[in-house]
Amino acid sequence: MLTVDIRQRLGAFDLTARFDAPQGITALFGASGAGKTSVINAISGLSMPDEGRITLGDTVLFDAKSGINLPAHQRGIATVFQDARLFPHMSVARNLGYGRRYARTPLGEAEEARIIDMLGIRPLLDRRPAKLSGGERQRVALGRALFSAPRLLLADEPLAALDRDRKAGILPYFERLRDEAGLPVLYVSHSVFEVARLASQVVVLGAGRVIATGAPADVLSDPALLPDGDREAGALISARVVSHDSDGLSALDAGGVAFFLPQVPANIGVEVRVRISASDVMLARDRPLDISALNVVSGRIVGFRDGGEASVLVTLETPAGPLFARITKRSVAAMALEEGQKVFAVVKTIAIAKGDMAGD
């Protein structure tokens, strides 16, 4: 487990960060300028905080009081960078093997072969990085980091430079890493969608402070914590795939509520995360009949919050979990909505499509 408790002054910017990253993927989340880069530079050993302490397992990486500051190469923290940073003068195979000789406990051939296959990079081994696509480069970079048998994997916006399809191609590898390995991962991102899909825990940074820590479903549904505020607000719901129907829709079950989504890329019985953006939810006082939207959920209003731009963010309690609806103030008044009232949430099918689950 990684434990961070640091203070650092960087010009006019004052950074105070305190959090733990246990097993699984901890997302370090925040807008640009929130201090994410400063935090990971301190963890990886590229910069030195003014005060505090960073420990990884029983190793002290940094301790201002006792003057300990382990150099980057002795920390056992491998980083996957946004720009891959493969060594251009080495083949993919040599890139992968670069960190092997420094690994505390080298992986061994079988484990290395497993990683190569998991990442699907066996056909690339003899190639030079210049001949790889952006997605291939990131996969090789991830493999190279794993080959050094790190005690912590730092992923610094690893998908930010990729287009939507390539992102969707790499996210499953991180998911597998989260589900299989005992390796703690600190995943830096400003994308709600990546965090929603990957994180087991979210640490939100804002203006140099940790402003929230918690489960993705809790953190991502609070517009006050999101980099783009209410624009990105939405609920994160866990649902099980029930069937894939012949008309291209998949049926999901979330706490007894049926949802229909176009072609979910997961097998029947698998638990997936579904993000429902607040802007894609409409409210009705009576169960709407004869409408095109397939997904209608009954719920109870538990709160109102200002949603900005003449809108209100309504929080609902439903059997599927909390849902958010962003509607105009005028509608709230016209419908005489109030707390405790029973309403129906209409979710446009298209709103919970593949894009929202696979990243944006």
């Binding site: 050993g45 980057a72 960078f81 940073r85 060594f87 251009p88 210049a130 980091a145």
Partner: protein, 229 residues
């Protein structure tokens, strides 16, 4: 077009002097270039100016400075003589003069290629556990190879042609310090020496052109390797 012993001597001596000058100064050149390219420190501008000094000073002045430091009457020169490494009026002195004169050219070329190599790759290597010396040897150095080759060839060509500092520091002794340019100069001083001088000029042109071609070829090959084909 006969080639006399004196002429052969001058060509062989020049090749020896230029080779030693280049090889011996290369490690220093790489070190200074890397430090100038990667680090900010107090007095960096001073170091930079010192490195460039031979490029802007009259070569005769550089020769005179060398003579005052390493000459037979200077303490440093006497020390070298005592330990069995006399340089004054020896071919080794000519190599030192050539190395000093070629140093700025060498450092400039190598520094440029260190600056072009992305320091982020060095960070990536460190994050994989590689200690600094290893990062330098496996990442920084190979990436700067085209520039190192260019710098070495430039210094070699400069050493082949160095005249002013050499003749001031180590004089013009046949077989010992009479390099190609000094020989051309000497032949032109005696009646009927034009033929020999012309032959040496042709040899100079051939060697210089050859060195340039080889360096271009090596640099292109190294650049291709980096580009990944």
């Amino acid at each position: 077009m006969g080639f006399g012993a004196a002429e052969w001597d001058a060509v062989a001596l020049s090749l020896k002097v230029a080779t030693w000058a280049t090889l011996a100064s290369l490690p220093f050149g790489i070190f200074v270039a890397y430090v100038l390219a990667r680090y900010e420190f107090r007095g960096k501008q001073l170091v930079n100016a010192l490195v460039h000094l031979p490029l802007i000073l009259p070569p005769v002045a550089v020769g005179y400075i060398l003579l005052s430091i390493l000459g037979p009457h200077a303490p440093m020169g006497r020390f070298l003589e005592v330990v069995g490494l006399p340089v004054a009026f020896r071919w080794s002195g000519a190599a030192i003069a050539a190395a000093v004169m070629g140093f700025p050219l060498m450092v400039r070329a190598i520094r440029l290629s260190f600056e072009a190599a992305d320091p982020k790759l060095e960070q990536a290597a460190a994050s994989l556990g590689a200690p600094p010396m290893r990062v330098f040897a496996t990442i920084s150095l190979p990436l700067a190879l085209p520039g190192i080759l260019t710098g070495a060839i430039l210094a070699f060509a400069k050493a082949m042609g160095e005249f002013g500092a050499t003749i001031t520091f180590v004089s013009n002794i046949p077989g010992q310090t009479r390099t190609l340019p000094s020989a051309i100069y000497a032949f032109l001083q005696v009646p009927g020496g034009e033929g020999a001088a012309l032959r040496l000029v042709v040899v100079s042109i051939i060697i210089a052109t050859g060195a340039l071609l080889v360096s271009e070829m090596l640099a292109r090959r190294a650049a291709r390797r980096l580009a990944g084909s």
